[in-house]
């Protein structure tokens, strides 16, 4: 995909929208940051590379204007899910899709270079990332530092778009193994799993970054994690309350999580918060043949029902 083509599309789209959301260079060479383009001269700020990790669709529900938005394949599912839930007016959104060959996990890169200051980041054509730090250049394969979601990505090309900046790409990842990690984890003993989550959630500092980053957390400032009316969780900083918070987050996303991974990316403690939601998604697939954010005409399974549930059997004691 060429950046010029993207810029050309943005320039065209600018004519019919109030703002286009894209990426620009962030505070250091390793970080891209969202940018809001309202004037033609700002188009040149736009960048596109594997550092463009943010899910820009997250902004859509809070914007009243007519918006153009750049989405990767994974991000596009957010828009579809919004449509299923009636959360956006599709006619007010122009979707600029980018066929994506994978992004990087900034966290993984930083770990590779031992958190040294970043001087330069380059991407070679053969899928390598070259990071320059004061102690020299480190070369790493893109696949080595990709976020987990890229490893099983089924939708490199956006599932829906008005403009596509580049040629569609088909996924080469086995659709059967999307939830392989979840299945593997579930095979562990109850004690092991319990210990795992207790250890992970105990690190939670209840900063709510995961929630704030989540495009599907529509409650925004009304989140019940911080409310007394209703009073689901107390302000106590103990494991029970932390787990309760994460269960609220997970269950509120049941059958809605589009697995963009923003929650995990945002978590300062590196807690695998997306895992619970992916587990639920794997069940949604089995129970209702449902995958969030794929078909605009679908109904999220928790907000509907069948009189005869084909895949739910009555439980016996």
């Amino acid at each position: 995909m060429s950046l010029d083509k993207l810029k050309q599309i943005i320039t065209d789209v600018m004519k019919e929208v109030d703002v286009v959301i894209g990426y620009k260079q962030g505070f250091d060479p390793l970080h891209a940051t969202p940018c809001f383009i309202t004037k033609p001269e700002q188009v040149d700020q736009v960048i596109w590379n594997p550092l463009c990790v943010q899910n820009l669709a997250s902004y859509l529900t809070s914007l009243k204007k007519k918006v153009g938005v750049i989405v990767k394949g994974c991000d596009s599912r957010t828009i579809v899910q919004f449509m299923q839930e009636g959360l956006i007016d599709r006619s007010k959104v122009v979707v600029i899709g980018i066929p994506c060959t994978g992004v990087v996990s900034v966290r993984k890169v930083l770990e590779k270079v031992k958190h040294e200051p970043i001087e330069e980041v380059k991407f070679s054509d053969d899928g390598m990332v070259i990071v320059k730090t004061p102690s020299g250049e480190t070369k790493m394969a893109l696949s080595e530092v990709a976020p987990d979601k890229c490893e099983t990505c089924q939708y490199p090309t956006p599932v829906l778009y008005d403009h596509l900046a580049g040629e569609p790409i088909t996924s080469t990842k086995d659709p059967q193994s999307v939830f392989k990690d979840i299945e593997e984890f579930d095979k562990k003993s109850l004690e092991e799993k319990k210990a795992y989550w207790e250890k992970e959630f105990d690190r939670c500092i209840r900063c709510y970054a995961c929630r704030n980053a989540c495009p599907m957390c529509v409650c925004q400032d009304s989140c019940i994690a911080e409310s007394r009316e209703p009073h689901w969780v107390s302000q106590k900083s103990n494991l029970t309350e932390k787990m309760m918070f994460h269960m609220i987050h997970a269950l509120h996303l049941a059958g809605r999580c589009v697995e963009c991974g923003e929650c995990e990316r945002a978590c300062p403690m590196g807690i695998p918060v997306n895992k619970l939601k992916r587990k639920i998604n794997s069940d949604m697939k089995v129970l209702f043949g449902y995958e969030p954010g794929v078909k605009p005409e679908d109904k999220p399974p928790m907000f509907t029902f069948s009189v005869e549930e084909k895949n739910i059997e009555e439980h016996k004691l």
Binding site: I182, F185, D186, L190, E191, E192, K193, K194, A195, Y196, W197, E198, W232, T240, M243, M244, M247, I248, A250, L251, A254, G255, L276, K279, I280, D283, M284, L287, F288, P301, M302, F305, S306, V307, E309, I312, E314, H315, L317
Partner: protein, 143 residues
Amino acid sequence: MSEVGPKELRIVGFLCNWCSYGGADTAGVSRFKQPTDLRIIRVPCSGRVDPLFVVKALLNGADGVLVSGCHPRDCHYSDGNFYARRRLEMLKRLLPFLGIDDKRFHYTWISASEGQRWQQTVTDFTKQIHKLGPLHSGKEAQQ
């Protein structure tokens, strides 16, 4: 009595007002004896039971949670239990992922006339929870 009876575990039941709560009443009227561990919370409909109530109870000290509503198609509010079925099934599958045995959570359908079925359910579920023992380590069984 010299011996202390079997120790109770903490079991919470959410019962819909129209069917299962009535079923429990019917069991009472018929004097169908049941184990004493269960504490009942009356809700209008099983569809009112947010799975988070179950989680809340299990995280905060319950050893087992039972939810019971009207039989599918027989909901006093026509569709409430259909929603409940989906949500509670989702939860039942999630619990073991968190390391909580899904046998600690049971959801079922009992009508107001099924006193015997209620007795059987309470008896079997209590037995099942006792087989699993307390959920929270270090917590002593009560009574």
